[in-house]
């Protein structure tokens, strides 16, 4: 039988690993498909290639399909998020100047306590701060607002501005931005290029944030369920392989290649091991589970995650929250996930929504096979998001 080749767009980041590994380690071939991975220079480019049919699937920021369904941004084709490719994996960093002021105030860069970091920033800032993010619709933006809007930084003032991550170090050096929230390896690259220091991992704000999704055009998913299933299973197996500790060295080597991230594997390795060098002073910080590709049902597209994103966007753009949540719930396709993953032996949760932020410690919940362990999904401020609350 002739193999079908699926063109897939991605942005060269550590969390594109499930797609790259599905291709490189033969998980796609096992399913009888070939992946033609197309590296994109920007998220708008990925979105357009997907929306206008240049590719069949894409590595996409989780808020993008939600925003598109809400009519925000330029393109509004119906896109489905069929699985979560990765959870967490972002870092927040500051410029050298801000780093120095933070140190002078006695801040210890614990790389853990988000509330304390916001207080320290507000105390060190002598004017409103500008944060660089990769895209207007991104978990980066959501995490920043969630973290800062109720902190002392709201009094100091802050602005969130789009800066392509490869240009972030330059923007920091030239003072266009004071701080940033980006996906790895760009945070570590900023440390390596002596442009800044790292302040927090993204998971210090939300411990289980859906970061990237596997996105397809909804009409494609409906007309090609067979191919969709093959792709989803190949990517799911790649994620499972990625989360086994034995794979890490190979993963860093594969991602480091010129065709993919084209960076030293040592820098890429930091995100995979969670062992970070956070400043030019060679300070090390450990973040267990810095980025997740599989464990703890990471790939399940919880409708409540989409609704959290929609609620946040609706609030910021002055849209009706209930309507936004309803639209968003239809974007994260837990229904496709259940259908397509049944044959893999993957355990599936009993429900498709959960209270986001309610799990403080690893907890057993009902699953199709009996019980499944869910890792903590708490927010730094302890708030709980109820997807059905009005």
């Amino acid at each position: 039988m002739k193999r079908v080749t699926l063109p897939i767009a991605y942005v060269p980041l550590v969390d594109a690993a499930p797609l790259i590994v599905a291709h490189e380690m033969g998980f796609a071939r096992e399913e009888g498909i070939e992946l033609d991975l197309i590296s994109a220079p920007s998220w708008s480019s990925v979105r357009d290639m997907l929306a206008f049919g240049r590719v069949d699937a894409a590595h996409l920021l989780s808020p993008v399909p939600v925003a598109m369904a809400m009519g925000l941004g330029g393109v509004t084709q119906p896109i489905s998020a069929v699985s979560v490719l990765s959870v967490n994996g972002n870092v927040i960093g500051v410029s050298r100047a801000l780093e120095q002021r933070l140190r002078q105030s006695g801040y210890g860069f614990d790389f853990r306590d988000a509330a304390a970091a916001a207080r320290a920033l507000a105390a060190a800032a002598d004017r409103p701060l500008v944060f660089g993010v990769p895209f207007p619709f991104s978990m980066h933006v959501e995490l920043l607002h969630y973290w800062l809007e109720a902190s002392d930084m709201a009094r100091v003032g802050y602005e969130v501005r789009t800066v392509p991550p490869p240009l972030m170090a330059q923007a920091l050096a030239e003072g266009d931005v004071d701080a940033f929230c980006v996906g790895e390896p760009w945070g570590s690259e900023a440390v390596e290029s002596a442009a800044g220091a790292l302040l927090l991992p993204g998971k210090a704000i939300w411990s289980l944030a859906p970061e990237k999704v596997l996105a397809v055009r909804t009409d494609w998913a409906e007309t090609e369920p067979h191919l969709l299933g093959k792709l989803m299973r190949a990517v799911w197996r790649a994620g499972r392989w990625l989360d086994s500790p034995d794979s890490r060295t190979s993963v860093a080597e594969i991602l480091a290649r010129r065709a993919y991230l084209d960076l030293p594997s040592e820098v890429i390795d930091r995100a995979l091991t969670g062992q970070f060098t956070i400043s030019g002073h060679a300070e090390q910080r450990d973040v267990p589970g810095f980025v997740g590709f599989h464990d703890g049902l990471a790939n399940f597209p919880w409708r409540s995650q989409a609704k959290w994103i929609a609620s946040r966007l609706a609030q910021r753009f002055g849209l009706d929250a209930e309507e936004a949540r309803a639209k968003a719930g239809r974007v994260f396709r837990s229904d496709f996930y259940r259908q397509q993953m049944a044959s893999t032996g993957a355990d599936l949760p009993g429900a498709s929504e959960k209270l986001e932020g309610a799990i403080r410690q690893t907890t057993a919940v009902a699953s199709q096979k009996g019980q499944i362990l869910l890792p903590p999904d708490a927010f730094f401020d302890g708030r709980i998001f109820d997807p059905d609350a009005t």
């Binding site: 206008f52 207007p136 789009t162 490869p166």
Partner: protein, 194 residues
């Protein structure tokens, strides 16, 4: 809105920018501005208040323009990517030519079409030239690495150039790989061994 359409072209390369501006001005009486890449791209564009913004789809600074699609102030005009149904094919053609166009909300498709037609044609040409250049460059690089691999083989095995190439070609065929890839592997491996 005045009759003249204002167009901003985002392009760092001076020659390409001139080529695009020439093509646009040959197709109608447009007011065309060129902006190179800058960290404050969105603000500089907003200051010109254009009807149409054209940018290469491969330009990494493109994501900065996405902020234009969210008019945040009352004085700002929202800019949409060109996707109205009447222009569905035009949008797809543009994406295929490597062009992304942002058009102010409410502008009539028939007014934008000649602008985009001219831009698409020019982008297709530039893209073709760029691809040819990249291919030439790659061929040259591969040539160099194959020559180095041949040299290594000739030295290690005391054989002639032709024989060395035949050996590379056979290894490539046996492994189902390209000669250039086998040569690269050999050069890398020998670098590690020496």
């Amino acid at each position: 809105m005045s009759d003249r359409i204002t167009i901003v072209v985002v392009e760092e390369d001076r020659e390409r920018a001139i080529a695009i501006v020439d093509a646009l001005q040959a197709s109608g009486p447009y007011e065309v501005h060129v902006i190179g890449n800058a960290s404050s791209l969105a603000r500089r564009i907003a200051a010109l208040s254009p009807d149409v913004v054209l940018i290469d789809i491969d330009n990494p600074t493109r994501d900065m323009l996405e902020e234009l699609t969210l008019a945040s102030g009352p004085m700002e005009r929202p800019v949409a990517m060109f996707v109205s149904s009447a222009a569905g094919n035009l949008a797809r053609e543009a994406v295929e030519a490597g062009l992304s166009a942002y058009v102010v909300d409410g502008m009539k498709p028939e007014r934008v079409k000649p602008v985009l037609d001219a831009a698409i044609a020019r982008f297709q040409m530039v893209r073709k030239m760029r691809r040819e250049l990249a291919e030439t460059r790659r061929a040259l690089e591969e040539r160099k690495i194959i020559d180095r691999a041949k040299g290594l083989l000739m030295k290690a095995r005391g054989i002639e150039e032709e024989e060395a190439y035949a050996l590379l070609r056979k290894a490539a065929m046996d492994q189902g790989r390209r000669v250039a890839d086998v040569a690269e592997a050999l050069v890398t491996a020998s670098g590690l061994l020496s």
